[in-house]
Symmetry: C2
Subunit: 208 residues, 2 copies
DNA sequence: GTCTATACATCGATAGAC
DNA sequence: GTCTATCGATGTATAGAC
């Protein structure tokens, strides 16, 4: 609302419209995928005309790549990446449980996160460059953070902290994929805490 | 080639054409996804006309669901499911290594398997019923087989064999996803055997 | 910068000849 | 059963008015 003046109304490529378009594109691409999303529906969802969409973005690919890159860099970073430093304070058993519980809570309860996983995986063959922001900004930081944590806790006596981090993350992510993304919840039920318990038990090498 | 007679040439809905169409559809759907695949291109890939495709299958959805169901039931079963019963003979450390190595060898080296994973995940939101054959015929048998194996090896003293099976499979599948499907190989390199070693070490509770 | 209107291609699906 | 030809709808992208 902080416009410079009335004479500037509609006179510049407004960042608000750019955001509205990206918001609309997010809903459409997440719901229908790349190919099945039309620029017309994006325009309607954004509340602008199709021509306006094309004045803000070069073409459909450009809009799509901009959107996905932004989603990977900003929106879903918090799902896996606990920027709060006190997350790593305390006994390993407690820390790992907090981490796993947090990840699963965020991922299992958020339909948008699951749609994003479907989109990234589904288009990774035709848009290899779009999988990179996911790996670079989401997967890599988490794995490296966890690797360093595992390496720093010598009492765990882990022979390969990095591989252990992969096991930890992989087990959790595949759990989300199988139960939620692929709708395996009813066919292959498994309580969340059973997975977490076994994971922690295996890593800390201590039974409960 | 075992035709009843020359008079029957082209007189019945030939199973060969059905297979040719399914073969063509496989290549197209795996390469371009559901929405971006046209029935025209399927027809060309199968060496028939578009009308012939529609005489063998009700519509695009019908062809797609038939194809995916067939792929999940037949083609990719062997990737994860070792029907050879002697696969489970021997020391747990040896058996688990054989199992993991076999799974990763089959999955990492096969572009079609990776395209299939992309397709299933990518379309699981819009075709929930198609994820089911994957879960039912691929994921479930492997997890249950492994669960029973873990439960039968009392010396491993696993408190939750089913959860342990999930960890085992999940770590391997997410490794394939991250390295191959999402092209993380260069950004996040990790040798296959390091993952397998750590997995086996954690489960059998014995260092090398 | 944003809109309406439109050009041009391609889609899924079918009709009718053989 | 299979083909060619085609219909109607919808896709991306742009031209031109304001």
């Amino acid at each position: 609302m902080a416009q410079i003046g009335l004479s500037n109304l509609g006179r510049q490529k407004s960042a608000e419209k750019t955001n509205a378009i990206l918001e609309g594109a997010m809903g459409e691409f997440l719901a229908h995928g790349y190919a099945a999303t039309s620029m017309e529906r994006v325009a309607v969802a954004a509340g602008v005309s199709k021509a306006t969409v094309y004045s803000h973005f070069q073409d459909k690919q450009g809009l799509f790549t901009t959107l996905v890159r932004r989603l990977a860099e900003e929106k879903y970073r918090t799902v896996f990446n606990p920027q709060d430093s006190q997350f790593l304070q305390g006994e390993p058993k407690v820390v790992l449980r907090r981490l796993a519980t947090n990840m699963l809570d965020n991922a299992m309860g958020d339909q948008q996160v699951q749609s994003f996983m479907r989109l990234i995986m589904g288009e990774s063959g035709r848009f290899p460059e779009l999988a990179q922001p996911y790996v670079e900004n989401l997967a890599k930081p988490v794995i490296e953070l966890l690797s360093q944590y595992f390496a720093s806790r010598c009492e765990l006596q882990l022979s390969d902290p990095e591989a252990t981090a992969r096991i930890f993350i992989g087990s959790l992510v595949y759990f989300v994929i199988l139960q939620e993304v692929l709708h395996g919840k009813e066919i292959l039920p498994l309580e969340r805490d059973r997975l977490i318990n076994s994971l922690i038990e295996m890593i800390t090498n201590a039974k409960y």
